[in-house]
Symmetry: C2
Subunit: 105 residues, 2 copies
């Protein structure tokens, strides 16, 4: 397999771990600091077991880190570089809405 294909495969593990509305919401929330599972569940508005599986998936992909303190498990972003990533994603959407060239990036 070509090196580019190899790289694409590895990247897809990380990108897939972001490719869900609930998981992107979690990332957005966690950019402003750590949160416990229950808080995230309230923000996401889904079953705790569902959220727990989303979090496990993101952690396994290397997106999140977690730490247990008492009864609670706190999750945080493993890497702050995603702020820039969100800016890029949102730009794509904005450009598409305007149906014009990418002015800013």
């Amino acid at each position: 397999m070509s090196p580019k294909m190899e790289s694409a495969k590895q990247r897809s593990v990380v990108v897939k771990a972001m490719a869900h509305p609930t998981r992107l919401l979690v990332m957005d929330v966690l950019t402003s600091g750590e949160r416990c599972v229950n808080d995230l569940k309230d923000l996401a508005g889904c079953d705790v077991t569902t959220l727990s599986k989303h979090l496990a998936l993101m952690r396994q992909a290397g997106l999140l880190q977690c730490e247990k303190r008492g009864l609670k498990v706190f999750y945080r972003m493993a890497c702050p570089c995603f702020l820039e990533f969100f800016r890029c994603i949102d730009l794509i959407k904005a450009n598409q809405d305007l149906s014009n060239a990418c002015a800013e990036c």
Copy 2:
């Protein structure tokens, strides 16, 4: 629905459009310039019809633009900001492999 959830939903359309090895390979290839469908098919090593559907999906999400010249359709990235994105994704993977803190980002 909360504004954050609304935003996450819109972002997920773009992120899902990247969340596949073949589609990430296409993005990687297109960062160095436009290509026609047949060239991309050879690089991806899949059926042309499969690739064509991948490309249509990416275009609908705003990731790609295309232009027909003669018999061929040339695809290009709609936005060059993804170079930075790849750097971030690869860093996640590298950090996970090393199992240590995010030194660079």
